[in-house]
Symmetry: C2
Subunit: 440 residues, 2 copies
């Protein structure tokens, strides 16, 4: 059988400026949208063939939403945009002096390059934790975690040893940001509304959900008031919140905390931080300690004229409000993406560039039914109304109209039925259930 | 870390008769439903934690439906049924003399045993075909096939070698039963309505869909008229149908047909037959050549009083209309499941048993938009109306009300938009895109 040699990206030369975007997250999508109708060729490289709406990954992991409803194929999103090209591949290296990138499917030249490669989980060098913990950055992560949560309960039925049972029924979430808080809340709702019906043989009071946060408060990116209220909500719901506490080690079974306390759990979910995911080939000095790429006020990578970096992977200097770079969330990425598209137009049309100024519309997190916290410009509120606002804003932000409709129906369904129907184990490798199999 | 020893099924002794059902397919579900309110303990063993609606797997494989919408967790289905127990595990062996089964999670005694373990793909001993072909029996099979179809087109963009490109863009489906016919039709709709927008760089006329059937006609289980019409529909849609043709060999690239013709394709989908999937431990003579378990008119396994087999895995003797056993489809399994539940009640209540008589309500297959064939008692029709009947009947048969609603919306969406939105590659093992990776 002839092997398939796929070392040529085979991107047609249209005789127009070629703008290559690396990564189709929130930032990348805005760049592509913003370049519509420009006389240019826009090429997107991504390792996946779809955009992932990361803010709702936690709902996939906790059986609330279908896997497919929070992702959207790039070709569907931009199928009507002329001169748009997509390539499924990973960009390995940039050769700035040649205006050339090397990818898993071959190399290609660019006129303008936008690095929007996002962030990955930061385990802060704790390799053992990395080995045993679940992360929550991709749709596969979320699906694996869903499988794991359900499987732990199925296993818990099979043991009478109290410690072993607790190791299966207890969950430790590390990181008190939005992901950790939302995951802790959603797990508690499974514990309260779904699992008691599914696992009548288990005593659900034995299921403990721990949330471990190194700083003295939850939701550090938000107001004191929001953090305090989230703490109240979670405590009220029975989550065991450990503030000012770090994880020292985890061997897949025993979690050692900085307080000396030990927790026993086969499920540690790591939502304690991210680091930039830059591409090799740039000057070493432009990459910061947390792997973000230093950019100027136009999102241009320092020292390069035609290379931009946006979103989680970029750290802009010069905004006195954010000395370490903008928060690694969707809104800065989207706003930077929009502006970079405009500025590339400006360059091509020989107009002056516009500097970036982040407009913080506020942020929000949901904890559970009728429980959310919202910080907006000049106004903060929590509880019932905040929860509706959270749902509305997320629904409107979902990429793809069809996904919006389906998520709306899923949420209505879950709301009225108190049910979460996606409690499925759909595993690739025919994970076998057998003696001793349960290594974490 | 203490290993988890899960060798005990830990099924409580309720002091009531214990009825164990192996497999939660169409047959198994009916047995469990039919035993509701009986003073008995009902235990279901299954390797998955969910029922799979197999007739729609082909729509998952061709991006028409979400993965989650055709599966339903057993615990959700039977959460309200008292004395129902589910165990996620594989039954390995039956010890009839001890009324005992051995499973991947330990052993347990039964009073009545119902084997409803279904069927697996039959490769008729062709191990090379088995190694390289895609099958279509489980939700994981269907998702893998979806990923593969989309990935082949992404790869096809990268080559200029005509043969290599054809090996990626051509698909060979083996088996002209409902699965093969429906898959060929759905792939053709992708080719016609979806891929031309997604892959403007490819010449879609190069995409060939072959359907290979060993017998001289399609849809052997249905009327001549239905087979003929299906043939007309497919030919009209551009599918290359090879009747009276068998696959002799496949090395992942070259398909050798019994006619001597060779087809080149990296995607061979095997829907050419199934074989029973019995459980070890029964008398060897009760297992037929195609691995079905010989049962009497009450679905009792020959030679055993308290062991039943139903559905695809059972072959009933004595029905002159079906000398080789009933067709391996949902309706016989469901009807047998219902009757076995009744007969177990009869045994417990010391009433006489009722023999099984298959009531054939007819069968149907869909080929594409407004194209279906229906055989019903005394009436046969094809085309537009048949297509609506097919949709209605399948919608009503879907397990789980929520799934029914979601599939209805998906179908409406696909119908009006001519789109199939689930064209996603969501792979577990971070399948990497690189040179030479495309081994079939």
């Amino acid at each position: 059988m002839p092997k398939l040699i796929t070392t040529r990206t085979r991107i047609a030369d249209l005789g127009k400026p070629r703008i290559i975007v690396i990564g189709g997250g929130f930032g990348g999508l805005e760049v592509i949208k913003g370049l519509e109708d420009l006389l240019a060729q826009v090429v997107l490289f991504d390792k996946s063939n779809h955009h992932t709406f990361q803010p709702l990954l936690y709902q996939v992991a906790t059986s609330g939403l279908e896997t497919n409803s929070i992702v959207a194929p790039f070709r569907k999103l931009f199928g009507n945009q002329s001169d748009f090209y997509f390539r499924l591949g990973e960009v390995k290296n940039i050769k700035p002096e040649e205006n050339y990138i090397e990818t898993s499917i071959g190399g290609v030249k660019y006129d303008y390059l936008v690095i929007a490669s996002g962030a990955t989980t930061n385990f802060f060098g704790m390799t053992e934790v990395e080995k045993y913990a679940s992360s929550m950055k991709t749709i596969v992560d979320a699906t694996k975690l869903r499988n794991k949560i359900i499987r732990q309960l199925e296993y818990a039925l099979l043991t009478s040893d109290e410690e072993v049972m607790n190791s299966l029924m207890d969950f430790v979430i590390v990181g008190g940001g939005p992901t950790g808080v939302e995951l802790a809340g959603a797990l508690t709702e499974l514990k309260k509304n779904v699992f008691p019906k599914d696992y009548k043989e288990l005593d659900m009071r034995q299921m403990d959900i721990h949330l471990v946060e190194a700083s003295p408060r939850l939701l550090n990116g938000m107001s004191e008031q929001a953090g305090k209220k989230a703490m109240d909500f979670l405590t009220e719901m029975g989550v065991k919140v450990h503030l000012g506490t770090a994880v020292k080690s985890y061997d897949g079974y025993e979690v050692l905390l900085s307080t000396g306390e030990k927790l026993i759990s086969r499920s540690l979910i790591w939502a304690a931080g991210v680091r930039g995911n830059p591409v090799a080939g740039l000057n070493a000095e432009v990459v910061t300690k947390v792997n973000r790429i230093a950019v100027d006020e136009f999102n241009r990578v320092k020292g390069y004229d035609n290379i931009f970096a946006i979103g989680d992977v970029a750290a802009m200097e010069g905004d006195e409000r954010y000395p370490k770079g903008h928060p690694q969330m969707a809104p800065p990425a989207q706003q930077q993406g929009k502006l970079v598209a405009k500025n590339i137009r400006n360059i091509i049309h020989k107009k002056p560039l516009k500097p970036f100024r982040y407009f913080d519309k506020g942020s929000m997190a949901t904890i559970g039914r009728h429980k959310a916290v919202v910080d907006m410009k000049g106004i903060r509120f929590q509880g019932f109304f905040a929860w509706y606002v959270w749902m509305f804003v997320h629904l409107m932000s979902i990429v793809g109209f069809r996904n919006r409709v389906f998520i709306f129906f899923s949420w209505m369904w879950n709301y009225f039925s108190y049910d979460k129907s996606n409690r499925l184990i759909i595993g690739r490798n025919e994970e076998k259930i057998m003696q001793d199999e349960v290594k974490p």
